[in-house]
């Protein structure tokens, strides 16, 4: 056994000699991850509703904090999503009961969840999330439904945009189907939302999701 010890030590030393990547170079750009329901025909929807606020998620806060469009950061984010949806032929409505699609935007300000997992209910670690009765009091107590696998590690400084098919609400199982999720990591600089990166991330998320298009009908 003693003869094996030097070999074991040599192995440990050699394993520790790996040259690490240039992290500084990597942090200069965004990471944008999108998922969607491949069985969903996005062209069948006509209207969408987009709340005029962004939910700030912080796993140390017990009360929800919404940043309204009066804050220029939230306004820029909301307007970017509106611009993309309108350019793809969808019509924004200001009465959520008339919308085919609901779009919610959240910003993960702080979280201790770093581990990737194939579990879509990523927001369970927070004390709060967008309540489903936001869309209709009738949906109180309903559940989200992700018809696609989600494998991702949500970290601090991630903007998350999700699309809910309100038109497809399943009364029998009391489920609201989430048909699109976009995660944009790396949009924070110096503990602040970097608006130009957030907007670039939103444009990239739509760019790599050409199926979101009412005009395709």
């Amino acid at each position: 056994m003693k003869k094996l010890l030097p070999l074991l030590l040599l192995g440990i030393v050699l394993t520790g000699c790996q040259k690490e990547p240039d992290w500084g170079k990597l942090s200069n750009d965004l990471l944008v991850y999108t998922h969607h329901d491949t069985s969903c025909d996005f062209s069948q929807y006509n209207t969408y509703y987009l709340p005029d606020s962004v939910l700030m998620l912080d796993d140390s806060e017990k009360e929800p904090r919404y940043i309204s469009v009066e804050d220029p950061r939230a306004r820029n984010i909301v307007e970017s999503i509106e611009s993309e949806m309108n350019s793809r032929g969808y019509v924004e409505v200001h009465d959520n009961s008339r919308a085919d699609i609901g779009i919610i935007t959240s910003y993960i300000k702080r979280t201790n969840t770093y581990v990737g997992y194939d579990y879509p209910y990523w927001w369970y670690d927070f004390y709060y999330y967008w309540p489903f009765d936001y869309w209709d009091p009738y949906y109180n107590g309903w559940y989200p439904y992700y018809p696609y696998p989600v494998t991702y590690s949500y970290t601090t400084g991630t903007l998350v945009v999700e699309m809910i098919a309100l038109k497809e609400a399943k009364k029998e199982s009391q489920q609201l189907p989430f048909i699109w999720t976009a995660c944009m990591a790396g949009v924070e600089s110096s503990n602040q939302v970097n608006i130009s990166k957030a907007i670039s991330g939103i444009y990239q998320a739509f760019e790599q999701s050409p199926y979101i298009n009412h005009k395709a009908q």
């Binding site: 394993t15 990597l26 750009d29 990471l31 494998t151 590690s153 790396g186």
Partner: protein, 206 residues
């Protein structure tokens, strides 16, 4: 810091080991401690050549020209890839830049043949055979995908040991090698079915 550490290990080995070991070693024993330059060939993944590695080997001459011994080396090849959209599955797409990396540690036994003995210039050929640990990874700023594998390793090498005189056996070593291992790895959308490397070693022999 890694480069400095590797350089420090190499310098320490070059300065200290010959002096401390010479008194207790047989004349028929040799050691090589080298800086290593290596490139992955036949695969697009992490195929940027680099000098982030070292080679260690030692052996004993069982005849005047044939030696048997052991070898171990380590090497990292990194490659930065500009941002692109990767289709991970029909339902998911990832836009990111990444650093592709392959870290290798081959080790095992060697058979060496030198064409001349006790000369200032000793050209040689070596056949190395053993196992190899490899770690294939793709890193972005928030997530790393990786795969660790083991495989069988073979490494033919030609080179020359250069000594100041036929009696002073501390000199310079230069070797060119081809390295193949059977490691099969999969990382993100990339596959490696065996690893091929070409490189050279430059260091001291004593």
């Amino acid at each position: 810091m890694k480069s400095i550490r590797i350089l420090a290990i190499a310098l320490l080995a070059c300065i200290v080991l010959p002096g401390t070991l010479s008194a207790q070693l047989y004349k028929s024993t040799y050691f090589n401690v080298d800086w290593q330059f290596n490139g992955i060939v036949g695969n697009d993944f992490a195929n940027t050549p680099s000098g982030w590695g070292m080679n260690f080997e030692g052996g004993r001459y069982v005849t005047s020209k044939i030696a048997v011994g052991l070898y171990a080396s380590f090497h990292t090849n990194n490659k930065y890839v500009e941002p692109q959209v990767l289709e991970l599955s029909p339902s998911s797409h990832l836009y990111t830049d990444q650093v592709q990396s392959v870290f290798q540690i081959p080790f095992g036994a060697l058979l060496k043949y030198r064409f001349v003995e006790d000369s200032m210039f000793e050209p040689y050929v070596t056949a190395k055979m053993g196992a190899m640990y490899s770690r294939m990874s793709s890193s972005s700023q928030v997530v790393e995908f990786y795969d660790e594998e083991w495989g069988f390793n073979v490494q033919p090498e030609v080179g020359v040991s250069i000594f100041p005189s036929s009696s002073n056996r501390t000199g310079i070593h230069i070797g060119i090698y081809y390295n193949y291992s059977t490691n099969q790895s999969q990382c993100l959308l990339y596959n490696m079915n065996g690893l091929n490397n070409i490189g050279f070693n430059l260091g001291v022999t004593f």
